[in-house]
Amino acid sequence: MSFLAKKSKEIEEKFFAKGKPLEKMYPLFDALDTFLLTPGKTTKAAPHVRDAVDIKRVMIFVVVALIPCIIMGIYNVGYQMLLAKGAEVSLMGAMGQGALKVLPIIIVTYAVGGMWEGLFAIVRKHEINEGFLVTGILFALTLPPTIPLWMVAVGISFGVVIGKEIFGGTGYNVLNPALTARAFVFFAYPAQMSGDAVWAAVDGFSRATPLAVVAGADRGSSAVEALTSAGYTFSDIALGFIPGSIGESSAVACLLGLIFLLVTRVASWRVIAGCVIGLFAMSFIFSLFQGSEALAFFSLPAHWHLVMGGFAFGAVFMATDPVSSAATNTGRWIYGILIGMLVVLIRVVNPAYPEGVMLAILFMNVFAPTIDHFVVQGNVKRRLARVQKA
């Protein structure tokens, strides 16, 4: 036994074991202990050997997949600030400015979310689930950089408690907790969460996001022309040098995360493929109706939809949450395709709020069990058909 393992056993027996003073705090000890050292428990029954992967590794891999989005997000927040101030943009300058804005948001999210997670683990006497590492960072990355920190705390509290814990914790929730938190702050504090002024962390500065530009363009005009005249190019939007939520603006960063998730097979490729197919299909359908009377959004080509707003981020990191998505393979295709279609539907025909990703995914989270129900009934029917054949 290594030195650390010995020490940990000593501490456990002295303070956290049954009947010792800090017995109730065992989940906290367990979380720290198993963070440092693998649990080292052996199997009690067949199968006697097990795969090396565990939930800790899976969840941390999702966080690793988010690193490009985090770095790009920090840079872009700083970059947008410097642009707004009219200052000279340097890499270190932008990173520094961005970090000062973004890191407090991430820290508050983890501190408050982790507090709730720990509290529920203690009360329920179960292990702390690493899922909150993912929930916390996802929530932080969907926020505008100008959000007051107390709002971050309220939002993540709502997401963790109402979105997850009241259902029984990770694995039992119906909605994606990060999106639940995001939706809560969006509807509770619309002034701080929407409009053109919240995306760059400089007072008095406002610039419409690409989605807002298209939503505000005249009927019958071309969406791409509207974007171009507002100073947006396709590559700026795809790379993410545009105002927007901290981590969502760069489709390229999401793509890097996607590659990592697919190579390590942590995320369901069916959901993501479904989202993209749905998005292309729906924007094709809408493009058939573009014309002088139609909203400018009808004319926005699919590949612009793909990189704009939170679609890439939502499809890669939110829709793929295995707990709140459909759980059958066929179901995942349907779930993904419908998310893609809903995103475009909301963007194009709902002028009040041009970003449809959050609501599309939450809506499909609610419908995922229904989709699964029909897929499972298909399995039951196959079974019944067998009896009748025999």
């Binding site: 963070f35 080292g40 199968p47 939930i55 699964d372 399995n379």
Partner: protein, 449 residues
């Protein structure tokens, strides 16, 4: 002849495969009868410690099925009657006196065997102690002699990690094997299905007559009887099918032709913890210490059966009644520093979260570490890729945990056995024992009748 190519599943390649040579362990010091081998057995012990028994003496009778007996494989003295928690009977150990003093049963000529009636076969198998070789699905318990199974499956393929190669151990047994198949065909009005590996080439399997032969290929669980039943003649509510291991078919024939309790069997001694990985001719229920003399068992787990579906019997344990494999693997329990962070070139995973997943596959060393803490099920889509049955595993588990038995039956629980889900448990990152949830569901159904 029909073929089935199983696509869902995985062959875990472990170190310690038995090489194709035989050693003789035909006079083990001790053998044991282990009631936990027999699901559903309500054992009443008929011997006392120190009592002399013959080869073929009744040691245990079942309280429920009239005439169902477990016999002593050897002549000798009852050395110990071991009990565990709640006085559950664990094993009856018999010390070998090597005299081969044997109880006689009725003997049949080859011509007579072909003409046997069901009633006589049942009576002889019960009396001769080989009735327990016939098990049933659902529930995986000893068959009831009154039941009329819709078919009988003979399993002559085993795809468990390091499993004994049925094709190899049936070499030169074609006569007895065929005679055993004939007896089984007289036992049912339905068909007898012989399930073999597509590459099988021993005469016993390739020239079997009077039965339906099915070729199975693909990864584990292609060799599980649950897989065979599901694809060949699936069970619906109210159905019963029986199944027998190939080696036991040979033994059934020997009971009729020799008039003595057939106690010989072949076992593969596997796993990197064993001193030598080889096949052994031995006696049913032989002790692990006899089979693996010279092996250092410290820090190792001794399994009868495979790492996926075997039972931990300890170094003082014995070969299980239905098993043709002993596996010795190192115990785990090492705590690794920041284990979630390491690249893992030497980790074994079917996920792609360790570097080893991108290296060419070769036999690996696995210990009994769970490799993670218990969590709620998160990656619910993994299971179905490792079950060879057309079931929606995650929803079946949810139905069982909610004790919604009607739904579980609709989702096919009656076709399921824990061993069919061993790979699901293996891959589950939440370390959920899928098989034990399936067992929980089957137990409820059995209890409620």
């Amino acid at each position: 002849m029909s073929s089935f190519n199983i696509k869902r599943g995985k062959d875990i390649q472990l170190k310690g495969e038995a090489r194709r040579e035989y050693i003789d362990v035909l006079a083990p010091q001790r053998v044991a009868i282990q009631p936990p081998d027999f699901r559903g057995l309500k054992a009443r012990v008929l011997v006392k410690e120190g009592e002399k028994v013959q080869r073929g003496s009744v040691v245990i009778e079942d309280k429920d099925i009239d005439g169902l007996n477990l016999l002593s494989p050897i002549s000798g003295t009852v050395k110990a009657i071991n009990r565990g928690a709640k006085r559950a009977l664990l094993s009856i150990v018999i010390e070998n006196d090597k005299s081969n003093d044997s109880r006689d049963f009725k003997k049949y000529s080859a011509a007579d065997i072909k003409k046997l009636k069901r009633k006589d076969i049942v009576a002889s198998l019960l009396e001769g102690g080989l009735w327990p070789t016939i098990r049933q699905r659902p529930f995986g318990k000893i068959a009831s002699p009154q039941d009329k199974p819709k078919s009988i499956f003979v399993r002559a393929i085993n795809t468990d990690p390091l499993a004994a190669d049925t094709d190899f151990i049936l070499n030169d047994q074609e006569k007895d094997f065929q005679a055993g198949l004939n007896i089984l065909t007289n036992l049912t009005d339905g068909k007898v299905h012989l399930c073999i590996k597509d590459t099988a080439n021993s005469a016993a399997l390739t020239s079997a007559e009077g039965v339906e032969v099915h070729l199975f290929s693909g990864p584990h669980p292609a060799g599980n009887v649950g897989t065979h039943i599901h694809h060949v003649d699936p069970i619906n509510k109210g159905d019963v099918v029986w199944y027998v291991e190939a080696q036991d078919v040979v033994r059934i024939a020997q009971l009729f032709s020799t008039g003595q309790y057939p106690n010989r069997c072949v076992v593969a001694l596997t796993g990197e913890g064993a001193k030598d990985n080889v096949y052994a001719f031995t006696l049913q229920g032989a002790s692990i210490k006899d089979l693996l003399s010279g092996t250092d068992f410290a820090g190792k787990r001794c399994l009868t059966g495979s790492v996926l579906s075997g039972r931990d019997v300890g170094a003082d344990g014995f070969l299980g009644f239905y098993d043709s494999q002993i596996t010795i693997v190192p115990e785990g329990g090492n705590r690794e520093f920041l284990g979630w962070l390491v690249p893992g070139f030497k980790k074994y995973t079917l996920s792609h979260t360790y570097a080893s997943a991108f290296l060419p596959e070769k036999p690996v060393s696995l210990d009994t570490d769970e490799n993670g803490g218990h969590r709620a099920i998160v990656l619910n889509h993994l299971y179905d890729s490792y079950v060879a049955l057309d079931v929606v595993t995650y929803f079946l588990l949810k139905a069982i945990l909610a004790e919604d038995i009607d739904e579980a039956e609709r989702l096919g629980i009656l076709e399921c056995d824990p061993e069919d889900f061993a790979l699901c448990t293996f891959v589950c990152p939440s370390k959920v024992n899928v098989g034990s949830i399936i067992r929980q569901g089957l137990d409820i159904i059995e209890k409620e009748g």
